[in-house]
């Protein structure tokens, strides 16, 4: 078998996410590429959580609508996911709580005999799964040693009991590839920012980007990185601007609600030309919406947030590798052109896990302009050909560095002079044009699938995973604009050259990418939209495309 899907479910507090990760790493160790989708409600204990781990020979970024194994720690796992069962799906379940057909294991009995706490039930069922799937014990042992941080020997004992209790149903073969890192989209963003030169990360917790804050805080225990969690999102963005003024490259992370609070500071970044990068993790809105479910409904919010007119960078990576690359680029571009930047992601990308190949070598190098020379003649907002003024940070000898949210002159002093006001607006416009020109040389549009096909799927953000796969299987071209502001119109037109039929796939109700395309004269024929907080499974999207083409 070259591909497997495993669903593991239980209540919040059962450790479903970490159990999913261990399953993902079993496949990783056997040479598979993996993807994990984690679905959980907004509560701490109880409810129903599940993870779908999918393993395949090639890199993937989507789940299937059917699974080969179900690992059930609660009855809901069997009851809710009946539709995902096929004729040879194997169900492993906790016999003490769950009524099902398959391999029942009395988890409480085993845990009692081994004097293990209830949370180790997932280790036991993973042991049973390994046996049922024909995975060698030594693979499980290796994975546990690397991935189980606490009480390794007891976890192994409990897993061994599960392994001995189950019987082999099939034999998942080992592939030749070596294991690669398996990281979440959030971690990819964090690592990309660090690679791009990040000095500080400031955030207030909010799903789905809280885990960037946790990740950065963990990194900062050893790495020289300032990580700060202040009183609210307004303080977050204002702190980032204070750090930027003092020369520290800062990023912030939030979701739509937090970004609402940040917009005044975001506009200040545009006017004061102090760079900041905002990681905006979309989730189902409006308002609080469904906090732990996915959406792509903040594109226009990101494109238009903040009063007044100023250039901004908006990038929407769709998988871990793009997240790493474009977080690096977003930080560097934001500093090179002294504009605010947004990394627009969503719950599916942020909290999904991906096999990750680090492609540092192919990340284009964005060099920051040389610093100005200090002295009394320094002007923070000096006019220049491309609108970008040389930077200095305090303290600089004999130099006064003034930044200002009011309309200002070149020295940074407030003015209401009409000529200067117009020139300063033009300065910002020039920066936007310079940014647009550089962006167009950075492969801002990804083309995949059958690149010769005259039918194209157009998508943005995390649906690239499912679109790429479906495009491959159905013989379609897939076109993904990664940069959405400045909009890479010419590159996109090029990417769509020779297509007669275009279908836009996005996870919102109003067709936000479609509207953006229309503004640039691109009017696709069909639209596939989803707005129930869930990402498309491969088969679901295939069916919707067939429907659209019928």
């Amino acid at each position: 078998m070259e591909e497997s899907s495993i669903l593991i479910g239980g209540k919040a507090g059962d450790g479903i996410n970490s159990a999913g990760m261990v399953v993902a790493h079993l496949f990783n160790r056997m040479g598979y590429r993996v993807y994990m989708y984690f679905d959980y409600p907004s509560l701490i204990k109880g409810g129903h959580n599940f993870a779908i781990v999918r393993a395949a020979r090639e890199e993937i970024g989507a789940h299937r609508s059917q699974v080969d194994f179900i690992l059930a720690l609660n009855q809901d796992t069997v009851d809710f996911h009946g539709g995902m069962v096929h004729s040879s799906t194997v169900v492993l379940y906790d016999r003490s709580k769950v009524r099902a057909e398959g391999i029942g294991i009395d988890l409480p009995q085993i845990l009692k005999e081994e004097e293990a706490p209830p949370v180790m039930g997932n280790s036991c069922i993973i042991g049973a799964f390994a046996k049922a799937a024909g995975i060698e014990w030594k693979v499980l042992e290796e994975v546990f040693a690397r991935q189980v941080p606490k009480a390794l020997s007891l976890n192994l004992k409990v897993a061994r009991r599960g392994y001995e209790t189950a019987s082999e149903c099939c034999r998942i073969g080992t592939l030749g590839s070596s294991p690669v890192p398996v990281i979440s989209g959030n971690e990819a963003i964090g690592l990309g920012l660090i690679h791009g030169g990040l000095d500080a990360y400031v955030a207030y917790p909010m799903t789905p980007t809280s885990n960037i804050l946790h990740f950065m805080a963990e990194v900062a225990e050893t790495h020289d990185l300032l990580v700060f969690h202040p009183e609210n999102e307004i303080a977050v963005i204002m702190m980032a601007l204070g750090l930027g003024y003092a020369g520290k490259k800062a990023a912030v992370g939030t979701s739509g609600g937090g970004f609402c609070l940040m917009t005044e500071g975001f506009s200040l970044s545009g006017m004061s030309e102090v760079p900041v990068v905002v990681v905006l993790g979309q989730r189902a809105g409006p308002s609080t919406g469904m906090p732990t479910y996915t959406a792509q409904s903040d594109l226009h919010f990101a494109l238009h947030a903040g009063q007044g007119e100023f250039p901004r960078l908006v990038v929407a990576p769709g998988d871990a590798e793009q997240a790493y690359t474009w977080s690096d680029l977003a930080l560097r571009l934001s500093w090179k052109y002294q504009v605010p930047g947004v990394i627009l992601c969503d719950k599916t990308l942020c909290e999904g896990f991906y096999s990750f190949s680090r492609l540092d070598a192919v990340i284009p190098r964005i060099d920051l302009p040389t610093k100005a020379s200090p002295g009394p003649g320094y002007s923070r907002y000096l006019f220049s050909e491309n609108g970008v003024s040389p930077l200095l940070f305090p303290p600089s000898p004999g130099t006064v560095i003034k930044v200002n949210g009011y309309t200002h002159d070149q020295a940074g002093i407030t003015t209401e002079n009409s000529e200067i006001a117009a020139l300063m607006s033009e300065k910002r416009q020039k920066k936007g044009a310079a940014l647009a020109s550089e962006v167009s040389s950075l492969n801002p549009v990804v083309v995949g699938g059958d690149t010769g096909s005259d039918m194209a799927l157009i998508c943005w953000g995390s649906p690239i995973g499912v679109c790429r796969e479906v495009a491959g299987s159905m013989g379609l071209r897939v076109v993904q604009p990664v940069v959405l502001s400045p909009f890479p119109k010419l590159v996109l037109q090029d990417a769509l050259q020779g297509t007669e039929r275009q279908i836009v796939v996005e996870e919102n109700a109003e067709g936000q990418l479609a509207m953006l395309l229309a503004r640039h004269g691109i009017r696709p024929h069909s639209h596939i939209r989803r707005y129930d907080g869930r990402p498309f499974a491969v088969e679901e999207l295939e069916a919707r495309i067939r429907e659209a083409l019928a």
Binding site: H195, D199, L226, M238, E264, P394
Partner: protein, 283 residues
Amino acid sequence: MTARNLITGAQNTWCPGCGNFVIQFALKNTITALGNEGVDSDRIVLVSGIGCHAKMADYLNVNSFYSIHGRTLPVATAIKMANPELVVIVCAGDGDCYAEGLDHLVFAAKRNSDITLLVHNNRVYGLTTGQYTPTSPLGFRGRSTPSGTVEEPFNPLAIMLASGATFVARGCTRRMDLLQRTIMEGIRHPGFAFIDVLQVCASYYNLSDYYDSRVYEISDHDERDFEAACRKAREWDYNADAPIGLGTIYRAKRPTLEERLSAIRGTETDRDTTIRNVLEKRT
């Protein structure tokens, strides 16, 4: 450095008789005095909000971040975190700091970042032409409250004491020498220094005579005694008639935010090593 003209060429637009002139001179003299003590003016950063007070950023020829309404303190805290060598002075208004940005004020006191805050407290919105602020007295008739306000003012000193501020003082633009001494004390204080500056608004709330007959310089007061500080802070409630004490009312020693942050800061600076270590753990 060579002595720098501390006043920019920007045209000053404060009203004649505005209390801001007094604060500007006090600040200018303080910066000059700091220069004489070896604190280079290049190290000074002024952060202002929005309001009449904020024009200080245009008028003083020092590094400045002219921020937005209510949002001085997070900017100032971050500048200090970014580079503890900088001397960060914040000018904020009472509408700015006590209304729009009160959350940040409480947290600045809680954090004890080593910055100095001057609240230009004229107890009225000047730039928006005369509305009440959190420190206007009950019944204040402003343009949004023509029949008088229906809420008591709050006492910013009491709020700061309750929030853990380590330096709490009051000044008045009618007593410039004392104000200047208080600002210098605030800047020298290692930690968050809060100075409420009673400021005359010549156009919308001219309390010159009122302050002249009530302010006095605090003496015979133990500023290390928290209970005594609380009593002193409550002597005048910004509403009823009472003597108004000026000077430092509380001072305490506590590690600063920057000291605590530097104690837990990681040391690895090679980005590639850090990224490789993270990825290794996740393989």
